[in-house]
């Protein structure tokens, strides 16, 4: 049985036995290579669930403000995000059942659009390690890895780490090294001067329209009142002034340090093709290098930036 079938079977059991009130998963969407969230409440609903590289939403975002017992069909990054939320008391761990399996990565539709120069893809079928694209007057079969998100190519945790007494792992995974060097683009940026980095930053974000998609798709951005929406005092103006755009992104990114699981949902969501993940990935990398942070990998583990240890590096403090 392929993983998708095993997941469906597990969801069916969970709902039949009423171990959860609801299962959040992906189902087929209305666009090629785009799955969409689905909310299964009856065993029969499990038929609709899909598990493949079109599952591009981070479903942990749907745990926000949710009551009751929930099953979450999660890729490893979604599972880690859910565990960060649980550790931060946003969702009771005992009400969460994670269903997961090793992940082969998620397609970045922006890479598809770039490759085909904006020509519309009418249908795309993933067959093994290839995608067969069909357009109005063309058909091409190309390697899947060419279109996976950077966050997936660099992923260090494709196999989820679950709690066997709570969760359901439908298939074991074998260790696999990331396809692309970790934070490759960021390491390039780190070599540049502060002025060069600032120019890059301003250039990337000058098209930001302040829609907040990056914030809303992120499961870790769950504050009911975001700092950017506060009016007394107003930290971030609404005029679209460049400084306000930058303050929003810089502060949001800093809030992610030690908490971001590098799922890449922010970059996927941005309608203006801004690589928002460049900022959060830098935070993730720094937190890992400075504080050995690996959010969501150990259930209940205290967070790097929320705890103090005398062994914390202090080269920057006099």
């Amino acid at each position: 049985m392929i993983i998708q079938d095993k997941i469906r079977e597990a969801v069916r059991s969970l709902l039949r036995e009423k171990r959860v009130d609801l299962v959040i998963a992906h189902e087929m969407g209305t666009l090629p290579l785009r799955a969409t969230p689905c909310f299964a409440t009856e065993p029969g609903d499990a038929e609709r669930i899909v598990w493949d590289p079109s599952c591009s939403v981070n479903l942990a975002a749907f745990l926000q403000n949710r009551k009751g017992k929930v099953g979450l069909v999660a890729k490893s990054c979604e599972a880690r995000a859910a565990l960060v939320m649980a550790a931060e008391h946003q969702f009771p761990r005992e009400n969460l059942v994670i269903l997961s399996a090793p992940c082969q990565g998620v397609v970045d539709v922006k890479k598809v659009q770039r490759r085909f120069g904006g020509r519309e893809i009418l249908a795309a079928k993933i067959e093994g390690d290839k995608i067969i694209f069909k357009g109005k007057d063309f058909q091409e079969s190309l390697p899947l890895t060419q279109f996976l998100c950077d966050s997936c190519l660099e992923c260090r945790h494709p196999n989820p780490v679950l709690n066997p007494s709570r969760d359901v792992l439908v298939e074991e995974g074998s260790p696999v090294a990331p396809t692309q060097a970790d934070a490759a683009k960021i390491i390039e940026l780190e070599k540049k001067t502060p002025d060069e980095r600032w120019s890059y930053f301003v250039d990337q974000f000058k098209d930001c329209i302040g829609c907040n998609a990056c914030r809303e798709v992120c499961p870790i951005c769950y504050c009911n009142e975001c700092f950017a929406d506060q009016t007394a005092p107003r930290w971030v103006g609404k005029s679209g002034d460049a400084s306000d755009v930058l303050v929003f992104h810089l502060v949001r990114t800093l809030h992610m340090a030690g908490r971001c699981v590098d799922c890449g949902a922010c970059s996927r969501a941005c309608p203006m093709n801004i690589d928002v993940r460049m900022l959060t990935k830098k935070m993730e990398k720094d937190a890992r290098e400075l504080f050995a942070a690996d959010p969501g990998m150990k259930e209940g583990e205290a967070e790097a930036l929320a705890t103090f240890s005398e062994k914390d590096p202090q080269e920057f403090i006099m």
């Binding site: 969409t36 907040n212 998609a213 809303e216 309608p271």
Partner: protein
């Protein structure tokens, strides 16, 4: 006009007008002011952001104020605008301007910054010869060759463009187009063929009218819980929508000087209806999604004789969770869980 003459056309226009046209930037098609040596991108499906931003900008200063010796000085923002040509506008987007006019230029009230720009701008449309599968203008009163809101309509027929002046404003542009000639019979036939092919390609069968009727009766239904379940309230649909026009007004102040600014807002945001008392009549995503659908497909029909949707499909393409408005319309029209039915895999 031959395609080779586009550059000259634009240079000629630039002597008198600011020319704003689609350009390619970071794999996006965006409307931008052309410099003296720029050429536009005129082969594209549609721009990422709709052209509404030219008349109703992302953020706009309404006036400046400063406190001087106990008195408040107000300086209105500069509202004079140079004549402009807005080129490369698809008929769906041009029609959206006609709809926005119903909001910003009513009998009782005229929005000054918007109306000044509208009066000073000539809209050059680009007929839609190759609609996408997510286009459904035909279901909401539009058409790939619709003339609404267009002063001069260009049609790409391969080697050149048909240029049809539809208004006096449009006629004034024709003398700037170099080396134009009457089309040959073959060219006219080709245009006719392209037109019928494009018209056949857009989705015309969405049950929008039935949805509008049903919306009268399902306000209290828990149907809306299901529709809104996957919406994350991100606002991409609103910002990319050619007809969405909600705005916020804020003051940005430093010491004793400030500006009053109008900026885009979205009804899907939680703060949209949050009152100073702390009460929020639309406290969850369900109420906000219901409001969005009702506004676009029921209230505006009553208030403005048109649904505020031009079928451009941008929200369908860019919603991060693939919440497809076409599915919502179908679900409303049939009042069943159409959005949750299993679908055939595309082959």
């Amino acid at each position: 006009m031959d395609k080779g003459s586009i550059s000259d056309f634009i240079r000629n226009l630039q002597k008198q007008y600011t020319v704003v046209a689609p350009v390619r930037r970071r794999d996006l098609i965006l409307f931008d002011e052309l410099g003296s040596s720029d050429t536009p991108t005129l082969e594209f499906a549609n721009s990422k952001l709709p052209p509404k931003g030219f008349f109703f900008p992302r953020s706009e200063t309404l006036f400046r104020f400063s406190a001087k010796s106990g008195k408040m000085e107000l300086t209105p923002a500069q509202t004079k605008s140079k004549p402009a040509v807005l080129m490369g506008v698809r008929p769906c987007d041009a029609r959206s301007l006609v709809l926005l006019d119903k909001v910003f230029m009513t009998e009782k009230y005229t929005d000054t910054p918007y109306s000044r720009k509208r009066a000073n701008t000539t809209v050059v449309g680009m007929a839609c010869t190759d609609p996408r599968t997510t286009c459904f203008c035909g279901s909401v009163g539009g058409d790939p060759f619709d003339a609404s809101g267009i002063d001069l309509l260009m049609t790409d027929v391969g080697h050149g463009y048909f240029m049809e002046a539809l208004t006096q404003k449009g006629e004034k542009l024709l003398p700037h187009a170099p080396k134009t000639r009457s089309p040959t019979r073959e060219e006219l036939q080709k245009q006719g063929w392209i037109k019928s092919k494009a018209r056949a390609a857009v989705e015309r069968e969405l049950p929008v009218e039935q949805a509008e009727t049903n919306l009268e009766n399902i306000y209290e239904d828990d149907f809306w819980d299901r529709v809104a379940a996957k919406c994350l309230g991100c606002g991409v649909c609103t910002y990319l929508c050619p007809t969405c026009h909600c705005f916020d007004i804020t003051d940005d102040i430093l010491d004793s000087n400030g500006v009053r600014v109008r900026s885009w807002d979205s009804c899907v945001y939680p703060l949209f209806t949050l009152q100073a008392s702390g009460h929020n009549p639309r406290k969850s995503g369900k109420e906000r999604m219901r409001q969005r659908v009702m506004h676009k497909f029921n209230y505006t029909v009553k208030n403005n004789d048109a649904a505020f949707c031009v079928g451009c499909g941008r929200c369908v393409q860019d919603c991060p969770v693939n919440l497809d408005i076409r599915e919502v319309i179908k679900a409303v029209a049939s009042q069943r869980r159409a959005a949750l039915q299993p679908k055939e895999a595309p082959t």
